[in-house]
């Protein structure tokens, strides 16, 4: 099934693809129809236009992915909702990782251990959404426990591929609705 995606970066798309493949068979969906904004202002500005184009291209479902960063949760959600709500999608979801998508990658110590070949189980925050700069936090953990350099554009996908979705659902409210959204589409 073609799901239209609007995201800020390619690596966000990578993460979402890996996570989605944990919920539904990877052969049943494709993320080929997408718009990558390379910045948050651009995403806000273009969200509606891009969503319209995705409909024209035949997408019946839409995912909008935008890091919370320093924005206000309510304001951002309302804004993005308003941009796409009246368009003719069968279903859409607005995902706002708090504060960045890397928070989602901090949920599973075991996944990090495996991906980076750590000798010890790393200690990860119990509430990753409270971390203001999860990218930096992840970098710090990776350096501390493996001595390696973390690269978001390379490692995000690999970590997402390994992590336990159950932990993600429990620890990150910003992700909690996503599995049921995907299940609904494919039921």
């Amino acid at each position: 099934m073609e799901i239209g995606i609007i995201a800020e970066e390619y690596s966000d798309l990578d993460v979402l693809h890996e996570l989605t493949a944990k919920i539904v068979d990877v052969r049943r969906f494709s993320f080929g129809r997408k718009f990558i904004a390379h910045g948050c202002g651009k995403l806000r500005k273009k969200c509606r236009v891009w969503a319209e184009i995705l409909i024209k291209k035949g997408c019946r479902h839409l995912i909008v992915l935008h890091d919370l960063d320093n924005n206000s949760q309510d304001e951002l959600r309302t804004f993005l909702n308003r941009s796409v709500a009246d368009l003719n999608f069968s279903g859409y979801i607005i995902l706002i990782p708090k504060h960045e998508i890397e928070a989602w990658l901090l949920v599973d110590a075991n996944a990090l251990k495996k991906v980076f070949g750590m000798s010890k189980m790393p200690s990860v925050p119990s509430s990753p959404e409270l971390i203001l700069e999860p990218k930096e936090k992840l970098e710090e953990i990776v350096r501390k426990y493996s001595g390696k350099q973390y690269f978001n554009s390379i490692h995000n996908r690999i970590i997402a591929n390994r992590l336990e979705i159950r932990l993600l659902k429990r620890k990150c409210l910003s992700f909690a609705d996503y599995p049921s959204f995907i299940n609904r589409i494919f039921s």
Partner: protein, 421 residues
């Protein structure tokens, strides 16, 4: 440690150029010929001063040399170390800078408490690292040889010895990557020979040949971790540039004959390995000269980025020959590295600008009578300009298009009088 501020006088288009640098990432933008490359090559003069021996010389010998000045403010854990050098230089073939003589001085008040300039050339600092035992005595011997050096200078130097060797180490880790170094893979040899027991094969500078032998040597290193980390990034689990790198090795031997005076013949058996590198892509095994330009350039750039321990990296136009998807990963990589070392990038790409923090951007401009000027983008804006830019970035679009649309061109009232930024 990082370089917080620099000043160049009378170096190429840098007639009188002073600017601050970001401890992490600084991105230079500006029109062709504004002096971005000159700023980077001026920084490389520091590296040259460290590597080559120059003795202070009072006067330049002829009209061919140009006198220029460099001043650098280093930050060592919040303490300032100032380096100042007067150089006599000329430009040789391939636009290479040659330093004929230099006078190099240090101001170390934050370290020693003395407000006095002392004369110590950078190469002396490097030398003392390689001469264990003599470490401290040797440069002092050098200092004493200079007639103007007093006992007080020697005392200051003694106190500052540790911090100065940090500075020397920092400069020796300076690396420069230009867009053209690795483009045109067809120039690349398809095999190379190395002598057993010798680390490096022939091949100079950053030629494609040198890259291949460096890559080979790294893959043979006892400590596999660096090579593995590198391959993880470029290989199938990372950027998917290549599926595998294979080195076929053929051992050959030959005899080297040399004749000594008196007719005595000296023979030496040489064992050599012919190395044939192959890059596996989509089931094809390709020689290096068959790789695409962007692939070749990226695997070379990332190799040096990831395996060399550099303290400060100067990267020219990383966007050349690179598809935006890959470029996006490369910029993210550069950003990650810049949290651990100082990186300076020059670029013409609005896409690169989209990916970096606006606080990292510096504008480079040039006017005939003033020469090259470097200014921090947001700090040189008025409050209103800055507010407008922030609004744009939060609600309307990205920095790159703001730039492309001409909106960053605010430094001059009439753009006809100056080139557009």
């Amino acid at each position: 440690m990082f370089i917080k501020k620099m000043q160049f006088k009378n170096y190429k288009s840098c007639l009188d150029t002073t600017f601050k640098l970001d401890p992490n990432l600084s991105v230079l933008i500006g029109p062709n010929s504004s002096g971005k490359t000159n700023v980077l090559t001026a920084m490389l003069l520091l590296h040259k001063l460290l590597q080559e021996r120059h003795f202070p010389q009072e006067e330049a010998d002829d009209q061919y040399t140009v006198q220029c000045k460099i001043k650098v403010w280093f930050d060592l854990n919040g303490k300032e170390i100032i380096f100042s050098a007067g150089l006599n230089t000329y430009v040789a073939e391939e636009n290479r800078d040659v330093i004929v003589s230099s006078k190099q001085r240090w101001y170390l008040k934050d370290i020693t408490g003395d407000s006095k300039w002392i004369t110590v050339p950078l190469w002396v600092l490097l030398e003392m690292k390689s001469r264990s035992g003599l470490q401290i005595r040797w440069p002092i011997h050098f200092l004493r040889r200079s007639k103007k050096t007093t006992e007080a200078d020697v005392k200051i130097f003694n106190k500052a010895f540790g911090p100065l060797s940090y500075v020397a180490e920092y400069i020796s880790g300076m690396k420069y990557y230009s867009a053209s170094q690795f483009t045109n893979p067809s120039r690349c040899p398809i095999s190379f020979e190395i002598e057993v027991g010798r680390k490096r094969s022939r091949g100079s500078g950053r030629s494609p040949m040198r890259f291949l032998s460096d890559l080979y040597n790294q893959s043979k290193d006892k400590d596999k971790s660096k090579y593995n980390d590198y391959f993880e990034v470029i290989g199938p689990s990372g950027m998917r540039l290549v599926d595998d790198i294979i080195f076929k090795e053929i051992t050959t031997s030959s005899t080297e004959v040399s004749v000594r005076s008196g007719g005595k013949i000296h023979k030496r058996k040489l064992k050599k390995i012919l190395v044939v590198p192959k890059f596996k892509i989509d089931k094809h095994k390709l020689s290096p000269n068959q790789l695409s330009e962007g692939t070749f350039k990226t695997i070379a750039l990332l190799f040096y980025l990831m395996t060399e321990i550099g303290s400060i990296l100067l990267i020219e136009e990383p966007e050349v020959c690179i598809h935006h998807g890959l470029l996006s990963s490369i910029i993210e990589l550069i950003k990650s590295y810049s949290r651990g070392k100082q990186i300076i990038v020059s670029t013409h790409s609005d896409f690169v600008l989209d990916k970096v923090n606006v606080e990292s951007v510096y504008k480079v401009t040039k006017k005939a009578n003033e020469g090259t000027k470097v200014s921090h983008l947001t700090k040189s804006m008025t409050k209103k300009e800055l507010a407008a830019l922030r609004h744009y970035l939060n609600n309307e679009g990205n920095l790159g298009e703001y730039w492309r649309q001409g909106a960053l061109d605010t430094s001059y009232g009439n753009w006809n009088n100056s080139r557009r930024v």
